[in-house]
Amino acid sequence: MTVPAQESGPHKRVVLAEADIDRALTRIAHEILEANKGSRDLVLLGIPRRGFPLAQRLAQKIAAVDPTVDPDLITGQLDVTMYRDDLRRHPTRSPLATQLPPSGIDDKVVVLVDDVLYSGRTVRAALDALADLGRPRTVRLAVLVDRGHRELPIRADHVGKNLPTSSRESVRVHLAEIDLIGGSAVNEVVIEDRV
C-alpha cells in the first residue's frame, strides 16, 4: 500500500494499514459468531457514514465462515442524527438514510458497528434510535478503534484496536468505499494533531 505523500499540514501517522484493518475485522467477525454461538438472528447495523461499510465487510466475513448467511440480508444502516444530544451545538446536520434488513430487528441480536468509539455519545444516540425501530433481544457493539475518553457508561463488546490517544489528537478512519485521497481509494486509520 502506498502511503499518500505527507502534506505540510498537521502531523499525521498511520496506525492501522489496509492489512491491519482486514485482520481486525476478520477477528471481530469470528468473535461475533462465537459470542452468538452461530449466525442465528444476527443483524449488523452500521452507523453512518463509516460504520455501514464496516458492517458490510463484517457480514461478508461472517458469510465466508457460515455459507447459509446472505450478507445483504443481515446488514443495515442506522442513522442517529436526530437522536444526538449535541444537535443544538452544531450547524444543522442532514440526516442520512436508515435501512433495516427485511427481517426487521425485533427479537434479533443487533450488533451496532461504528468506526471510532470516543465519547460514547453516538452509541447512546444509536440505542435511542434503535428503541424507536423495534425491540432487539440483545444489542452488542463492535468498533474498529476504541480511542478512550468515554463520557458515558458505554463499552464495546468487540474492538479492532485499542488506541490510547490524547484528546488533542483526532483519529480518522478512511475506507475505500467512501474515501478517495489524491484520487485513490485508501483503507487506513490515521492519527492527526488537531489544528
Partner: protein
C-alpha cells in the same frame, strides 16, 4: 437558513438539501413509531390569520412528529379580532419564547415584516401570505414531482433535481401564491414551467417571469407537459368580474373528462395531475380527473408533512448562532453555497 419566507431567494443547494431531508422524514412517517426527538423542548406557534385546514394540520403534525410543543393560534376568537396589531401579537409570542412562528396572513409580505422587524427572535416560516408566496406548498409539489420524475427515470429521488421536466400551471395565477412559489422553485430546480390561464387572471408583468404563457389550455397541453397543476379558483379574492361565468371558465380552463382523455390520446402516459387543494370539483377539475390514477392530490398532502418536518428541522435543530453566520454568507451568495452542504459526522 434562519427563515423560510419565499422560494424566490432559495438557492438550488438549499432546496435540494431540504428535499433530501424530507425523504428521510418520509421514511419516518412509514414507521410504527412516527416520532423523532430532534426538536424536543422547542416551541412552534402556528399563527393563522386566514382559514386553513391542511396547511395548519400538516404543520402541526410535522412539529409534533419532531417532538416540538405546538401552540395553535387562530385569529378568529383571539385578541386580533379586538384589534391587536401584528406587532403586539408577535411580542406576546416572543414573551412566551416561541422558537418558530408559522404564519399565514392575508397581507402579502406579513411574514417578511415579522422576520425583519426585530419584534421577535424566532424563525419565521411563511405558510402563505396574501397573493405573494406559499413556499412549503411549492416544496411539497417539487418533492412530489421529483419522486414522480425519478420514478419515471427508474432512479432513486434523493440528490436529483427536475432537469428536463415540463410543468404546466393552469388557472387563477393572479391570486395564487402557490403558482408564484412554484414558478420560482421549479425553475431553480431545473424544470421548464408553462402557465395557462385567462388573460384577466394572469398578473401584470408575467412576461418577465421565467416561464412561457399560454392563453389556451389545449394549446398548452399540446406542448406535452409532464405534470399539470390545476390552481383553485379563489372566489374569496375575486373582487371584479374576471370572466363571464363559472360555466365558461370550467369549459375553457377546467381539467374535465375530455382533457383527461386527451392525455391518453396524446400518449402522455406519465403525465400527472396536481392540485394544491382544496378542490372545486366540477369547476377547475372534474371528479374523474381528481380521482384518476394520474392524480397526485393525496400524495401531495402526505408529502406535505415530510416537507414541513424537513423545513422545521433545518430551521430549528442546529445552533442558532451558526445559522445566523450562514445567513450572512447567504447574502453574498453564489448559486450554490458550500457553507450549507451537510458536514460529515465527526467521530
Amino acid at each position: 437558513m434562519k427563515h423560510l419566507l419565499s422560494t424566490q431567494d432559495l438557492s438550488a443547494g438549499n432546496a435540494l438539501r431540504l428535499l433530501d431531508v424530507a425523504e428521510e422524514m418520509a421514511a419516518v412517517g412509514e414507521r410504527e413509531i412516527k416520532k423523532l426527538p430532534a426538536l424536543r423542548g422547542r416551541t412552534v406557534v402556528n399563527l393563522f390569520f386566514e382559514d386553513s385546514t391542511r396547511t395548519r394540520i400538516s404543520f402541526e403534525a410535522a412539529a409534533k412528529r419532531l417532538s416540538a410543543d405546538v401552540i395553535n393560534f387562530a385569529a378568529k376568537g383571539s385578541s386580533v379580532s379586538k384589534g391587536e396589531s401584528l406587532k403586539d401579537t408577535a411580542q406576546t409570542l416572543e414573551a412566551m419564547s416561541a422558537d418558530a412562528v408559522v404564519i399565514r396572513h392575508p397581507a402579502s409580505g406579513a411574514p417578511a415584516r415579522l422576520a425583519a422587524s426585530g419584534w421577535i427572535d424566532a424563525a419565521v416560516v411563511n405558510a402563505g401570505d396574501g397573493t405573494h408566496e406559499h413556499p412549503t406548498q411549492a416544496l411539497l409539489d417539487a418533492f412530489t414531482l421529483r419522486r414522480h420524475w425519478a420514478g419515471v427515470a427508474g432512479a432513486a429521488s434523493p440528490g436529483t433535481d427536475l432537469t428536463g421536466m415540463k410543468v404546466l400551471i393552469v388557472g387563477d395565477v393572479l391570486h395564487s401564491r402557490v403558482a408564484r412559489s412554484n414558478v420560482w422553485l421549479l425553475t431553480t430546480l431545473g424544470a421548464e414551467v408553462l402557465l395557462a390561464g385567462p388573460p384577466t387572471l394572469l398578473p401584470v408583468g408575467v412576461g418577465a417571469w421565467p416561464c412561457t404563457v399560454f392563453y389556451d389550455l389545449d394549446d398548452a397541453l399540446a406542448e406535452r407537459p409532464d405534470a399539470v397543476m390545476m390552481l383553485r379558483l379563489q372566489a374569496e379574492r375575486m373582487n371584479a368580474a374576471f370572466f363571464p361565468s363559472l360555466r365558461e371558465y370550467s369549459r375553457r380552463w377546467g381539467f374535465d373528462d375530455g382533457r383527461l382523455a386527451l392525455l391518453d390520446t396524446l400518449g402522455l402516459d406519465d403525465t400527472v395531475i396536481m392540485h394544491p387543494g382544496p378542490m372545486n370539483r366540477g369547476l377547475e377539475i372534474s371528479s374523474a380527473a381528481a380521482d384518476s390514477p394520474r392524480s397526485t392530490v393525496l400524495a401531495q398532502v402526505r408529502n406535505g408533512v415530510s416537507v414541513r418536518m424537513a423545513a422545521l428541522y433545518l430551521l430549528l435543530a442546529g445552533d442558532p448562532h451558526d445559522e445566523q453566520d450562514q445567513q450572512r454568507h447567504r447574502h453574498d451568495r453564489q448559486s450554490d453555497d458550500p457553507d450549507l452542504i451537510p458536514e460529515g459526522r465527526t467521530p
